[in-house]
């Protein structure tokens, strides 16, 4: 019955790991045409479902057993919850009669995951199963998306009830607002048109709402510069001249200054995270703030908003575009010329640069070469730390749904399994995980998965033999006391790849970099590239935690 429901929801691929209480489900899978990918750790199943969802825009699905199988999903759920990723996780549960008895492999997973799911369900009898599954998928993908967990006691799955998949479901307490308030939109548009120093600050909500094209149209028509959050990268073409790049802690000099000096800030599908705002009181201090978001709790949570617009980004942008018929492009260009000139000045004052010499490989160089050799036509996953920030800064993205990174939770070990999910969704595309040597060790067991299923994920390890980002903080704020961030005991990553049956390649000097990348891309299967990079390279610009974002360390 579960399988029937999944098919009706259009699910073709799931990521999972079997166990006692889900044996019946696995038995049904044995003869079904749903594609199941057996991971090597349940955390990876959830990240893979998440990567699948981010890359494809569909709901990702994972299936695990009770107890430890279920608790292993917690990090994956929390990661997806923070980044609002549509996902449904099915966990097995002990039979209803044993719940609460400390039965073998029992865990109160509904209780454990309550704060890190959009919603969760314990199915108490077979008759309610179809309705709950329908609700789970609906909740996961509608409104502000998010992960939903469905806990399935063994007896419920086994027992037979007449199968009827509901056409419609009602949830009295759930009613997301899609259209924006027209009055607010008109007010906002007036403020935007009058602004002399406007900036668009776009986040992951633009991508979740599949509104990248509309945003691009909107920004171009009004000639307004766009800065993106870590989650928003790709929602506006990074190589377009209106792009300011990323803002926030490791944002560009021009983006952070433009936001600080702006007179109207248009926040779209973003949530004023502390990594973006820095010191809140000094964030865009002179700006009138317009905030478009589907989640009312995001509005005025951290920063007081002047013109809130609750609604789906895509629908609201349509409403804006509908009112913009008489905007005169030439007039806009003239009106904003001084502002663009100022932005250019900032751009000239500080360029992203790292100085690649002859001896040591600079990690930024590796990222730039990956961008150049692939032409940007690939899906990038990242781990967490310096590797993630360099990827964000130097892999200029022009399209949405090509960027898989754990923004809100910052989960090391996310990137590789997420890349697996994306590769499963798009077997023919190039999928690269930009990794650190620390993070990759958190889920490197998944090399077995990619080899088993012939998923040609490419991993590029920026190997500095440090927990680099933490080391950087220790360097700057703890007097270079590198307490437990030195990682010179790592496996030989080339041999590790080979042990699993994948290809391992290494680059020790700058002249190896291009060769290794080309060789990896030419190889039809999974590859681990081990780049030995400058060990103590730092990520800059950097805004120290709690400082104003105009206060950047530049090197």
């Amino acid at each position: 019955m579960l399988i029937e429901c999944l098919k009706l929801e259009g699910v073709e691929t799931i990521f999972g790991y079997p166990g006692g209480v889900v044996l019946n489900i696995y038995d049904a899978l044995y003869s079904s045409d749903i594609h199941h990918i057996l991971v090597r750790h349940e955390q990876a199943a959830v990240h893979a479902a998440d990567g699948f969802a981010r890359a494809s825009g569909k709901v990702g699905v994972a299936l695990v057993t009770s107890g430890p199988g279920a608790t292993n999903t917690v990090t994956g759920l929390a990661t997806a919850y923070m980044d609002s990723i549509p996902m449904v996780v099915f966990s097995g549960q002990v039979p209803t009669g044993l719940i609460g008895n400390d039965a073998f492999q029992e865990a109160d997973i509904v209780g454990i995951t309550r704060p890190c799911t959009k919603h969760n369900f314990l199915v108490k009898n077979a008759a309610e199963l179809p309705g709950i599954i329908k609700k789970a998928f609906f909740l996961a993908r509608s409104g502000r998306p998010g992960p939903v967990l469905v806990d399935l006691p063994k007896d419920v799955v086994v027992s037979k009830a007449p199968f009827k998949y509901p056409e419609k479901i009602t949830m009295v307490g759930y009613n997301p607002t899609y259209e924006g308030h027209l009055g607010q939109i008109k007010k906002a548009l007036k403020a935007i048109l009058a602004a002399e120093r406007p900036v668009i600050y776009a986040g992951g909500g633009v991508i979740l709402s599949k509104a990248a094209d509309k945003l691009t149209k909107f920004a171009k028509a009004l000639d307004i510069p766009v800065t993106m959050t870590l989650m928003g990268l790709g929602c506006f073409p990074g190589s377009h001249k209106l792009s300011l790049g990323m803002l926030g802690m490791h944002g560009t000099y021009r983006a952070n200054l433009a936001v600080t000096e702006s007179d109207v800030l248009i926040a779209i599908g973003s949530r004023f995270d502390d990594r973006v705002t820095g010191k809140v009181d000094e964030f865009a201090p002179g700006a009138k703030i317009i905030h478009i978001d589907i989640d009312p709790t995001s509005i005025s949570k951290n920063v007081k908003v002047d013109i809130p617009i609750v609604g789906d980004v895509s629908a609201v942008l349509d409403q804006f575009l509908g009112l913009m018929g008489d905007v005169d492009g030439k007039e806009r260009k003239k009106h904003l010329a001084p502002w663009h000139k100022q932005v250019k000045v900032w751009e000239g004052e500080h360029k992203m640069d790292y100085g690649q010499g002859k001896d040591e490989i600079k990690p930024q160089y590796v990222v730039e070469q990956l961008r150049e050799i692939t032409g940007g036509d690939c899906i990038i996953a990242t781990e967490v730390g310096q590797n993630q920030m360099w990827a964000a800064q130097y892999f200029t993205l022009d399209k949405p749904h090509c960027w898989l990174t754990s923004g809100g939770l910052g989960t090391m070990g996310y990137g590789f399994p997420a890349a697996i999910g994306a590769q499963a969704a798009f077997p023919d595309r190039v999928v690269i995980d930009i990794a650190g040597d620390g993070s990759i060790q958190m889920n490197s067991q998944e090399l077995a998965t990619v080899v088993q299923y012939g998923l040609p994920v490419k991993i590029a390890i920026l190997n500095n033999r440090f927990l680099g980002m933490v080391r950087q903080w220790q360097e700057l704020f703890y007097g270079k006391r590198y307490s437990h961030t030195v990682m010179d005991h790592a496996p030989d990553f080339v041999k590790l790849a080979e042990a699993y049956g994948a290809l391992g390649l290494r680059a020790e000097k700058p002249s190896d970099v291009k060769k290794v990348i080309k060789q990896a891309l030419a190889h039809p299967g999974p590859v681990v590239m081990d780049f030995w990079v400058a060990r103590e390279e730092g990520v800059y610009p950097m805004v120290p935690a709690g400082a104003s974002i105009s206060n950047m360390l530049l090197a």
């Binding site: 509904v110 209780g111 309550r114 704060p115 959009k118 919603h119 314990l122 108490k124 909740l139 949830m171 009295v172 307490g173 759930y174 989640d295 009312p296 709790t297 005025s300 949570k301």
Partner: protein, 165 residues
């Protein structure tokens, strides 16, 4: 600022945990809480008394609304609502204090619901101010034990707040 928030929820498994978990997880305060079924048994009403500045109260209300099982949230302001709480208080009763106790019972329209040689147990209903005043006067006489229900509240006039309105 103290606020009394009425929450209409679907009467489903785990819903109390969701509401309470939201308060603890986000560092909001609960001063008192009461829950019971409404006229419609598939729906319950919770009354939560909380405090915080304007921004916190706004977040509490938005976050509550975001819970899938929450049907309606009402923030009661001064004067627009009736609120009552019940208090049961067991008092030391001696020959010297009994007359004063009986006088207070009369003034506050309390009831004596249990007596023993050394104690009187009083039941008292009222709004926050009344209970506070009563406790102030009872405390010097000697309280042995006490229990309070937490506040319940309802809108004045014809308006309904059960989500069907």
């Amino acid at each position: 600022m103290r606020h009394t928030i009425s929450i209409i929820v679907e009467n489903e498994f785990g819903v109390l945990a969701r509401v309470v978990g939201l308060f603890s997880g986000r560092g909001f305060n609960i001063d008192s809480l009461s829950v019971a079924e409404t006229l419609d048994p598939s729906v319950s009403r919770m009354t939560i008394v909380t405090h915080g500045d304007e921004q916190i109260i706004e977040q509490i209300i938005k976050q509550l609304n975001k819970l899938i099982n929450v049907i309606k949230v009402t923030d009661f302001h001064d004067g627009e609502f009736l609120d009552r709480e019940m208090l049961i208080v067991k008092m030391h009763a001696t020959e010297q204090t009994k007359p004063e106790l009986l006088r207070l019972v009369d003034i506050f329209r309390a009831k004596i619901v249990d007596v023993s040689t050394k104690s009187y147990t009083l039941e008292l209903t009222g709004d926050e101010g009344k209970l506070r005043a009563a406790l102030e006067l009872l405390r010097p006489i000697g309280i042995r034990d006490m229990v309070r229900t937490g506040k319940v509240a309802m809108q004045r006039g014809v308006g309904q707040s059960n989500g069907n309105a």
